[in-house]
């Protein structure tokens, strides 16, 4: 331990050394640039993959829930139940099947996203005006086409609202992937918390926020583009 002091003096402590430990530190950004970029990329990839997988799972669940109203409370219950499983329990449960891989994280996060996604899809579909649905059915739309061509587009505002919440939640939740080494920025955050590494903690947190805002904007822009008819509906 006596070795510490000379080392510190000799190296002229950087702004992120434990002795100075500044919140904002350009040196840190430079020294760990590749690590930060890698973590951010991984974070983004895992988040996007998880949300997409979540949508893919939630969609059939919402359809079943709508078609069989008696099952709907069960389906919502299951999605809620899954959300309450601690990641501490869920990830080790998945590891024997999927190994210590990003897949594990993606699956886990997709499952966590179900609560929000299933609900918003169900609610979105229910919000479709009945006269529109009736005219479509009357014109000979089969259930699938009705869903794809009429109900989904009209459900979009509500579904997209759910997707926005699910996406930011997943950005935040991706950090629990550090449990199995694939936490993206979560790896840095975890380390930052553990070792009181302020620059690392702050940088990674800010990047999380930036990612969330970015994805949110992407979704909103996509929604605008996909729902041109909503513009100017209000007088």
């Amino acid at each position: 331990m006596t070795l510490l002091v000379p080392t510190a003096v000799a190296a002229d402590p950087s702004c992120y050394s434990r002795l100075t430990n500044e919140w904002v530190c350009g040196q840190y950004l430079r020294d760990r640039q590749s690590e930060i970029v890698d973590a951010t990329t991984q974070h983004l990839e895992i988040t996007v993959a998880a949300v997409l997988l979540g949508v893919a799972i939630a969609f059939p669940m919402a359809l079943v829930a709508r078609r069989l109203p008696r099952l709907s409370s069960w389906i919502l219950g299951v999605s809620t139940g899954i959300y309450t499983i601690p990641s501490l329990a869920l990830f080790p449960l998945l590891v024997p099947f999927t190994g210590i891989t990003a897949t594990t994280v993606v699956i886990g996060l997709a499952l966590y996203a179900l609560t929000v996604l299933v609900r918003s899809m169900l609610e979105g579909l229910r919000s479709v005006p009945d006269d529109v649905r009736e005219s479509a059915i009357g014109l000979g739309y089969g259930p699938t086409r009705l869903l794809v061509k009429v109900e989904l587009p009209l459900a979009l505002p509500v579904i997209m609202a759910g997707l926005r919440v699910a996406t930011v939640s997943t950005v935040a939740l991706t950090t629990v992937g550090s449990l199995v080494a694939y936490g993206g920025l979560g790896n840095l955050i975890k380390d930052g918390v553990l070792t009181n590494f302020r620059a690392e903690l702050l940088t990674a947190s800010v990047l999380c926020v930036a990612l969330a805002v970015l994805l949110d904007v992407v979704i909103v822009v996509a929604q605008r583009l996909m729902t041109p008819w909503t513009r100017g509906v209000r007088a």
Binding site: M1, L4, A8, E35, P96, A102, K190, N196
Partner: protein, 297 residues
């Protein structure tokens, strides 16, 4: 997809310098994700890469996770003698099983032999470097209460800031109250060597904090380690845990890792830890420096 890169994996920056031997195939290293484990894993990584292996390193939050795929998808783990044996003991024999570890490393390994072979795990030579639980107080408390060993706390009432698993354990709260007769009024589960634990002791919310013997940050924070004069800590010597099947196929790994174990001492490890946690050098850099100095690469 699996192509997602892991920030902490990959080989050390220096490995392109020296030529590797013939390609010997892949080795999967896993371990826990705290500074010392990062450091040791980085050493394994560099050594095995130099030895011609294609390495990948996955550092996870808890032993639970990698033990699900070790041995199997994971071949090599930087372990601690007491840590892995206790884990195997409790998972095989239940949470309340009688501990098989003692403060003697070799004896502990002997005691765990059947458990290890059952699992298909081989422990290589333990290092003399050891990293056991340790307990600290603030400098102020040490001087005002005049304590330097854990025995000095006998009969005193303290709040303990420690890992969430501390309560009842022989090497933690159990031993402190049992063997040392300390009155632990409350255990705050703030983590092992975590900043929260330090802060709690520094602020006086708790008097005693849990860390490791190789903690390189204590002095700089104004904290002092208390001597485990009754040796309640089981041996926690660093030891490479290797899949028995993998070892049979790649016997040269034993030599490579045993060499590293021989070169490490507790003091060295503490110093290297300090470079990682205080100076915040990257584990890979610190590992490389050490391996070069020690002539291992």
């Amino acid at each position: 997809g699996d192509n997602l890169s892991n920030g902490k994996s990959g080989s050390s920056p220096s490995d392109s310098a020296s030529s590797g031997s013939a390609d010997k195939g892949a080795v999967h290293i896993a371990g826990q994700n705290f500074p010392e484990a990062q450091l040791v894993a980085a050493m394994y990584d560099e050594l095995l890469t130099k030895a011609g292996y294609d390495t990948d390193v996955k550092l996870v939050d808890s032993r639970d996770v990698y033990m699900k795929t070790f041995p199997g998808a994971v071949d090599v783990v930087p372990e601690y003698v007491g840590g892995i044996l206790d884990y195997l003991n409790t998972t095989q024999n239940g949470a309340k099983a009688k501990p098989i570890t003692t403060s003697d490393a070799q004896a502990s390994i002997e005691a765990g032999k059947s458990l290890l072979s059952e699992q298909g795990i081989t422990l290589l030579d333990p290092s003399q470097a050891t990293d056991t639980n340790a307990f600290f107080v603030s400098k102020d408390y040490a001087s005002s209460e005049n304590v330097s060993t854990l025995s000095d706390l006998k009969g005193k009432s303290v709040v303990l800031a420690a890992a969430p698993d501390c309560e009842g354990r022989q090497d933690c709260e159990g031993g402190l109250s049992g063997a040392y007769g300390i009155d632990v009024t409350k255990v705050l589960p703030l983590g092992y060597a975590s900043d929260q634990t330090y802060q709690s002791v520094l602020k006086g919310e708790s008097q005693l904090g849990e860390t490791s013997t190789t903690d390189g940050t204590l002095e700089s924070q104004g904290l002092v380690l208390l001597d485990d004069d009754k040796h309640i800590q089981p041996a926690q010597n660093l030891v490479p845990a290797v899949s028995s099947d993998f070892l049979a196929a790649h016997p040269d790994v034993a030599g490579t890792l045993n060499g590293l174990m021989a070169a490490l001492t507790t003091e060295k490890l503490t110093q290297l830890n300090g470079e990682v946690t205080v100076d915040r050098k990257t584990p890979a850099d610190v590992a490389d420096e050490f391996l070069t100095q020690a002539g291992l690469v």
